[in-house]
């Protein structure tokens, strides 16, 4: 058995180290690493066989390609290097692979310390991959934190005028949440008397009848907070707009595309799957938060003047739908959540790239002062249009199947409450359309002389994402089939 997951990690790790060391040629190393990684991911998808099924809802899940080596072993503390994947992880790994390559291509012309920049891009992806495959609390937390540091530097060094404040805010805010998450995970392991920190052992322990419901509920809430800040959930979301506005384009792409997904993935794997009873007894809180995020994110997007800020708030809205889909706790909802995470990763990546290019080309991202950029930059305008339409859930583009499934799952569990996210879809459409009306259309005004359309690298980077948006929008079945082959598919 080839330890393919470790090879995956080592590929990225080696690539990262080489990139850091390779000076001006870093982009080639980064691109090569990304391509190799993408093909490894394809191999993984190809080799991933159907999940055999679970004996019952609470039977211990099995994972593919799993590896386990002892790491720390004390009489009372057993920590292993345990990795493994299921369909959910695989989808998110695929997302990472695509976003990584798109970001590297998009940032091709980065000249400000390119080695450090591309190294940090790869490092972020490495951390994300680690999160998606880790099946041990410590390992999971380690990778979880490992995404923070590169992002901190990316925002803080390459970011906008208020980058240092934004970087610190991002770092401290999300770190506090991580800490809460860690405490809760530790508490889960110890209060349930798990045999080790391995996922399987924890799963067995938390599903044993002796584990008190109240403890489960409280721990679930703590985990919910810990993962939720990453989502981000209202009202713990204010780090996100600041971080996005100040982050460099590549940083925004990875932040929205990958880092937010860590929250969703963590919630599914380490909170819902581990503590289903906890969710069941606190679901009304989760629902309330999800609805609040959906409404708040969308309504606030409407009045944002900064393009990136608007997309950031719309991310809050979309991740709110993800949360809702997770909260309904059904296979359908789960499928919807994972699909939507993939979709949002690609779409928000595209939109952030487009915003970055607008800023780069037109010197501002202020919606109110941009007018009619289409004649000057038709390709860029097309990208913005595709991204916006995908984001507002147009069929045949990637978000639609996901949102459809999410809403169906919500209807299934909550009945007419589904009207709230449904009507918010109109608001979402509203702010994207309004933005397009103001930025893309109308007579050109205040267009600087040097304004230009996308260069070939920007186009290529975005084209990858556009292709994904259309491909998986028309053929969502591929993603769905992978997700469905997942242990978590055994949700009710």
């Amino acid at each position: 058995m080839v330890p393919i997951l470790s090879i995956l990690l080592l590929t990225l790790l080696g690539g990262t180290v080489l990139t850091f060391a390779s000076g001006k040629q870093a982009r080639w190393v980064a691109l090569g690493t990304s391509i190799v990684f993408l093909f490894e991911t394809f191999y993984l998808l190809d080799a991933y066989t159907a999940w055999p099924g679970r004996a019952g809802l609470y039977a211990v899940p099995q994972y593919s390609f799993s590896e386990s080596y002892a790491w720390i072993s004390l009489p009372w503390l057993h920590i292993n290097y345990t990795v493994g994947v299921d369909g959910i992880s695989l989808i998110l790994i695929l997302l990472t692979a695509f976003l990584q390559i798109a970001t590297v291509v998009y940032c091709w012309t980065e000249t400000n310390r390119p080695a450090a920049w591309f190294g940090l891009v790869l490092l972020t992806c490495l951390g994300s991959i680690g999160v998606f495959i880790a099946l041990d609390i410590l390992l999971f937390f380690l990778f979880w934190e490992a995404t923070l540091i590169p992002m901190f530097f990316m925002i803080g060094y390459w970011g906008g005028p208020k980058r240092r404040y934004a970087a610190l805010k991002f770092f401290v805010y999300t770190h506090v949440a991580s800490i809460v998450m860690l405490v809760a995970l530790l508490a889960v392991a110890f209060y349930a008397h798990a045999a080790s920190f391995d996922f399987a052992d924890i799963f067995v322990a938390t599903h044993s009848p002796g584990f008190p419901i109240v403890t489960q509920a409280l721990l679930f809430l703590a985990l919910f907070f810990g993962f939720g800040v990453k989502f981000p959930i209202v009202p713990f979301h204010t780090w996100l707009p600041d971080a996005h506005v100040e982050a460099p384009t590549g940083g925004s792409v990875l932040l929205a595309g990958l880092l937010l997904k860590l929250g969703g993935y963590g919630l599914i794997r380490w909170a819902v799957e581990v503590l289903p009873q906890g969710l069941a007894h606190t679901s009304w809180i989760v629902y309330a938060v999800a609805f609040a995020s959906i409404v708040w994110g969308s309504v606030l997007s409407l009045s944002q003047r900064d393009l990136k800020r608007m997309v950031a708030y719309s991310s809050i809205n979309h991740m709110g739908i993800v949360l809702l889909a997770i909260a309904v706790y059904s296979s359908l909802g789960l499928l919807a959540a994972v699909l939507l995470m993939f979709a949002h990763g690609v779409v928000s990546g595209l939109l952030f790239m487009a915003s970055g290019s607008v800023h780069h080309s037109f010197g501002t991202r202020d919606i109110a002062s941009l007018h009619g950029i289409t004649p000057k930059a038709p390709v860029l305008a097309t990208m913005i249009m595709v991204g916006s339409l995908a984001s507002l859930g147009l069929p045949a583009l990637i978000s639609f199947p996901a949102e459809f499934a999410a809403l169906l799952a919500t209807w299934d569990r909550l009945g007419y409450w589904v009207v709230v996210p449904l009507l918010i879809l109109v608001v979402t459409a509203g702010f994207y359309l309004w933005m397009m009306q103001r930025v893309l259309f109308g007579p050109p005004q205040n267009v600087p002389e040097k304004a230009h359309d996308l260069d070939v690298y920007e186009t290529a980077g975005m084209a990858i994402l556009v292709a994904l948006i259309i491909l998986y929008g028309v053929l969502p079945g591929f993603l769905v089939n992978v997700i469905v082959n997942s242990p978590v598919y055994g949700f009710p």
Partner: protein
């Protein structure tokens, strides 16, 4: 198995041809030597699509039946605990049945003609490749919608036609009004769309749980139940509040797409797009999709009595609502647009009354005469360069073909026999009349429908007189108008012919198969003849009034101090509904958003920053305790000692006792 199944399995070609056109024109149109070449590619491909469409229609006419070819599993969704216990697959495919065949004819014939017309109409426009790409994409989507095999596929293409409409309304995107109208159209229909989606959920939930629809649920939103005849077995199999609401949601979706009250505001503004687009999308096809949805739902799923009442109310009210606004408008396209809304109201009315086929019948005839009217109007606009009726006049002499074409369209619209509109509109009125016993509220809406016949004839002939009559001296600046080139004239002539005879198709034996039960709704008894006579009379009355007021004779005009003038203002302001919407969107929602933004920045993030500041201030205060004087440090030590003594001797034991352990 029907006789033409081999033919029907090629139905996917109908959307495929325009798709090829879209790809060619969309990606390579800009690089062709002349912009028209791309256009011609699209025209030819749409012609091929029309050819296949007509073949299919003929096939269905000769051998009516349902043919499905659903083979692509689009989504394989897992089941859930409560309702969808077994999970389900959404299998995409094509469904050919008489009504879809009919729609194929409508869409592709009008589509082809409009494309052809556009070659001349748009030839000076720089964005010609874009125009043809978008138009081709629209045809893909519309044909896909027509051929949809299940409700979700239907919804998918439904949204796609919406977005094509968005692009085409905003075709002249540098015009702020066009950009705004496009957004408005998308948004308003979006409201209907999300409700439509909710309706899908509701149907799905209902039929997935109740016994009658288990098969339907398992097959995932399918219209057909296996290969059973297209009047599905599900009709009326269940009745519940959920179903009523589901029906209402369908109505909401249809109202959005078909611009029914109160979601009608976007259609007049959609006239910002090229006139050809108005003809194809905002008259003949896309706006009719809402009606088509109602037809399909009423055939396959059935509406409850309450739903039908609501549909009748919406349709009936919309007829007169839109017609009244057309009375005073002076923009030629907008007049026709209001008439579209009004006519769509008739179709909805018929579906609500329980005669879906009658609605479809009117849709069929309306598509031709309304496309004709728009293209004729386009011809006029093309010639005179303005849309303002008050600036036109006397075009009769210079534009004979257009003049006649518009007249044919107007007659048809007014329901004057033997023009196409007469037959279908008469069917609508008769079918509604036949149902007035069902509920007392049918009466007022029937009266609306009748009154509208009068108004329709009045406003359309007012437009006709204003444009073509007179001596052309109303605006001296009008250039000398010329008749349009052949590429524009040919569609006008063809459509005129269709507007003349399309109504009779329902009576041709084979063709009637495409509209089963539509041609002869009730028996033509005395009552029906009375109804027809009334309707025709009203139509002539309106024509006459228009002639008296706007014709060459100009017998009388409305005085400026007439007590009716305030009504005129109200009508011109469109009953202030659009103002209300604008207020709602710009002031209420946007204001809410601004308020929320304030809360977000100063309350939520303010709290975060407040915590940060509190930490800073605490930190600062704490640092000031670090005085540098060692005596102070000693004082801290001794204070700590005292505190520790107190804590250890009294507080800690008390805590331990009261909490019960460390």
């Amino acid at each position: 198995m029907g006789a033409f199944d081999t033919l029907f399995q090629w139905a996917f070609l109908v959307p495929l041809f325009p798709l090829v056109g879209f790809v060619i024109v969309g990606f390579f149109g800009d690089r062709m030597k002349k912009a028209e070449y791309g256009g011609w590619v699209a025209v030819v491909l749409s012609g091929l699509a029309m050819f296949v469409g007509i073949l299919i229609a003929i096939g269905e006419a000769l051998s009516p039946g349902t043919y499905t070819d659903a083979s692509y599993t689009w989504l394989n969704l897992p089941g859930t605990q409560s309702v969808f216990s077994n999970g389900f697959s959404l299998v995409m495919g094509t469904l050919v049945d008489p009504i879809s065949a009919l729609m194929l004819v409508v869409v592709n014939v009008v589509g082809f003609l409009v494309m052809l017309y556009s070659i001349a109409y748009m030839h000076h426009d720089q964005g010609l490749p874009r125009y043809y790409a978008e138009l081709s994409l629209f045809l893909v989507a519309m044909n896909g919608l027509v051929l949809s095999d299940n409700l979700l596929e239907f919804f998918l293409f439904w949204e796609l036609v919406g977005v094509c409409s968005y692009f085409l309304i905003g075709f002249y995107y540098e015009k702020p009004s066009a950009a705004s109208a496009a957004k408005e159209a998308f948004l308003v229909t979006r409201v209907g769309d999300v409700l439509f989606l909710l309706g899908i959920f509701l149907y799905f939930a209902t039929y997935a749980t109740s016994g009658g629809g288990a098969g339907w649920a398992a097959s995932g939103f399918k219209f057909t139940n296996g290969n059973t005849p297209f009047l599905g077995s599900l009709v009326g199999s269940a009745s519940s509040p959920t179903l009523t609401i589901a029906g209402l949601m369908m109505l909401a979706g249809a109202a959005g797409k078909s611009a029914q009250f109160p979601l009608d505001v976007w259609l007049p503004d959609a006239m910002e797009g090229p006139t050809t687009v108005s003809a194809l999308i905002h008259a003949a096809t896309m706006v009719a999709a809402g009606v088509y949805l109602l037809v399909v739902v009423s055939l396959f799923l059935g509406f409850t009595a309450d739903d039908r009442l609501a549909i009748v109310a919406v349709g009936g009210f919309t007829t007169i609502w839109a017609a009244s606004m057309a009375l005073v408008n002076t923009d030629i396209k907008r007049v026709v647009a209001y008439s579209t809304i009004s006519q769509l109201g008739y179709m909805v009315l018929a579906v609500g009354a329980g005669f879906a086929m009658v609605g479809l019948y009117h849709l069929f005839t309306h598509a031709f005469f309304k496309a004709l009217l728009f293209l004729a109007a386009g011809s006029v606009i093309h010639a005179v360069g303005t849309q303002d009726l008050l600036k036109m006049g006397g075009l009769r002499k210079s534009m004979r073909v257009t003049w006649i074409a518009f007249f044919v369209g107007a007659m048809s619209l007014s329901g004057i026999p033997p023009f196409a509109g007469f037959w279908s509109k008469d069917d609508v009125l008769a079918s509604v009349y036949s149902q007035v016993g069902a509920h007392p509220l049918y009466w007022p809406f029937l009266l609306c429908a009748f009154a509208t016949v009068f108004l329709t004839a009045y406003y359309i002939f007012r437009a006709w007189f204003l444009a073509f009559d007179g001596d052309g001296s109303r605006d001296a600046s009008l250039p000398h108008a010329h008749e349009a080139p052949w590429a524009m004239r040919l569609p006008l002539i063809v459509l005129s012919g269709l507007a003349l005879v399309a109504g009779l198709f329902a009576f041709v034996p084979s063709f009637a198969n495409l509209l089963p039960g539509a041609g002869v709704p009730p028996t033509y008894g005395t009552t029906d003849l009375m109804l027809s006579a009334t309707s025709v009379g009203l139509g002539f009355g309106g024509l006459g009034l228009a002639y008296l007021m706007w014709g060459n004779g100009r017998v009388f005009t409305l005085p400026a101090d007439s007590p009716l003038q305030p009504f005129r203002t109200v009508l011109l302001r469109r009953y202030y509904v659009k103002d209300a919407y604008d207020w709602f969107g710009l002031k209420a929602v946007y204001g809410l958003s601004r308020a929320a933004d304030f809360v977000d920045q100063y309350v939520i993030d303010g709290t975060v920053r407040g915590i940060e500041r509190a930490f800073s201030q605490l930190s600062d205060a704490g640092r000031r305790l670090q005085t540098g004087v060692v005596s102070d440090y000693a004082a801290y030590v001794v204070s700590g000692l005292v505190g520790l003594l107190v804590f250890l001797l009294w507080i800690a034991p008390w805590l331990v006792r009261s909490v019960g352990g460390g």
